[in-house]
Point group: C2
Chain length 256, copies 2
């Protein structure tokens, strides 16, 4: 099979020296990649600079990206000349990217200036409407201050929505067995499964691996693999998760 | 001499899986540490999880921190039982930490509700005042939404000022030879030196190492060491910078 794996975590630049980082060691992705390779499959592995990755030299193509935008371009580029049989989308992708950063002084100055042009501010509906317009204008048009004045007590960071990668994966590679991932923090098993099922249905995945940050400690890693029938299987280590995903993807592919 | 070195870059948590990270490989700090150790000095080395660090086993105490707040506590803790002769503060410390994160919907709802309670919104001064109060109340009192609604198009991240570590270093260890660092991006040598001198005077440093991100490529690393007399010396590699700092700190200490 020709397999695509995304792993690691994206970063979104705030400026030249700072960024918003989605933490992910990439260790689960590495083991999944190695398990597919060990079974003789071809793997295109898209990852981020700080994440660990498989080190095999045969049948492995490595691609490195940093931001969600770069991930999107790299994938679209692959899809122009490759068709995948299985896609394991384990990368922690940032839902939002930076739009602009302003000191509270600049922010309020812009906001106050636009608002006082309006003369119906005592009405809650009209004020709300005016605030949406101002915020949108500030976010889209006000350039980030070159040098953030270090004297300010508060900064406002505007973040805007990133493209949804998983939706694009399904759209561009409808034939692939698609495995999505969902990481939650400190929820019940019921909630974890329920959220996983929602993600699966919404993104038209074949499987979703749902896991909880509080149940990941070193190689101990509880993961619940959910399928389209609502069946679940639970693994307790990264290695078990990898074995489970590989065998389920192989099986599903054979049945298609 | 008893030397304190800070190196690497702090991170400020946004939530359990994301943070704002100051990028720093820690490579310059590592070489400075190793140079001090090679000359027989004692080194307390405070660094961050992803940064490289000296690996010597004698005369070296390693301390790991993540956030600026943790850095402050770790240093105050050291100062209770150690006095330092030299302090090399090369860590990229975040000026701001996260206060709260809100969807634009929640933000505007809170803002509109407070503003409509005010009846003098057509006046720019009064509106500005009202906006400051609202923003402050939102930042300080509104809890970050547990689960950021992924349906929102825009998030607002509130950041508030972190304590100034360098000021605290000078205050708590007045006897130490203090070396501050300033990293700028794409400025002229004149501006770099001028900003370095301002930082030196403001924080009562003995030296400031001023450098420009655009003049750092691998081991090539231009650094300008500025002293209290306004004298400057320029080094071209990380190793030269380390040699320069160690000899200047030793010299200054002998003269005290």
């Amino acid at each position: 099979m020709n397999i695509l794996i995304t792993a690691g975590g994206t970063s979104e630049k705030i400026d030249n020296v700072r960024s918003i980082t989605n933490h992910s060691t990439g260790r689960l992705g590495k083991i999944i990649g190695e398990t597919f390779l060990a079974k003789g499959h071809f793997v295109t592995y898209v990852t981020t600079p700080r994440a660990v990755r498989p080190t095999n030299e045969t049948n492995l193509t490595l691609i490195e990206i940093e931001t969600t935008k770069e991930l999107e371009s790299a994938l679209l580029d692959q899809f122009e000349h490759q068709t995948f049989d299985g896609i394991i989308h384990s990368m922690a992708v940032s839902d939002f990217t930076t739009e602009t950063t302003l000191s509270e002084e600049t922010f309020i100055e812009k906001l106050a200036t636009t608002l006082t042009k309006d003369d119906a501010l005592s009405d809650l509906t009209k004020l709300t409407e005016a605030l949406y317009l101002s915020l949108d204008e500030i976010g889209k048009t006000i350039q980030q201050e070159k040098k953030i004045p270090s004297g300010t007590d508060r900064l406002l960071l505007f973040l805007k929505k990133n493209p949804k990668i998983i939706a694009m994966l399904r759209e561009k590679q409808p034939q692939a067995v698609l495995v999505g991932f969902k990481l939650l923090v400190g929820v019940s098993t019921e909630e974890l499964i329920q959220v996983g099922q929602t993600i699966l249905a919404k993104n038209n995945c074949d499987f979703v691996l749902a896991n909880d940050l509080e149940k990941i400690k070193g190689d101990q890693h509880q993961g619940i693999l959910i399928d389209t029938q609502g069946q679940t299987e639970t693994a307790q280590t990264k290695n078990e998760i990898a074995q489970l995903i590989v065998s389920k993807v192989e099986e599903k592919w054979r049945m298609q």
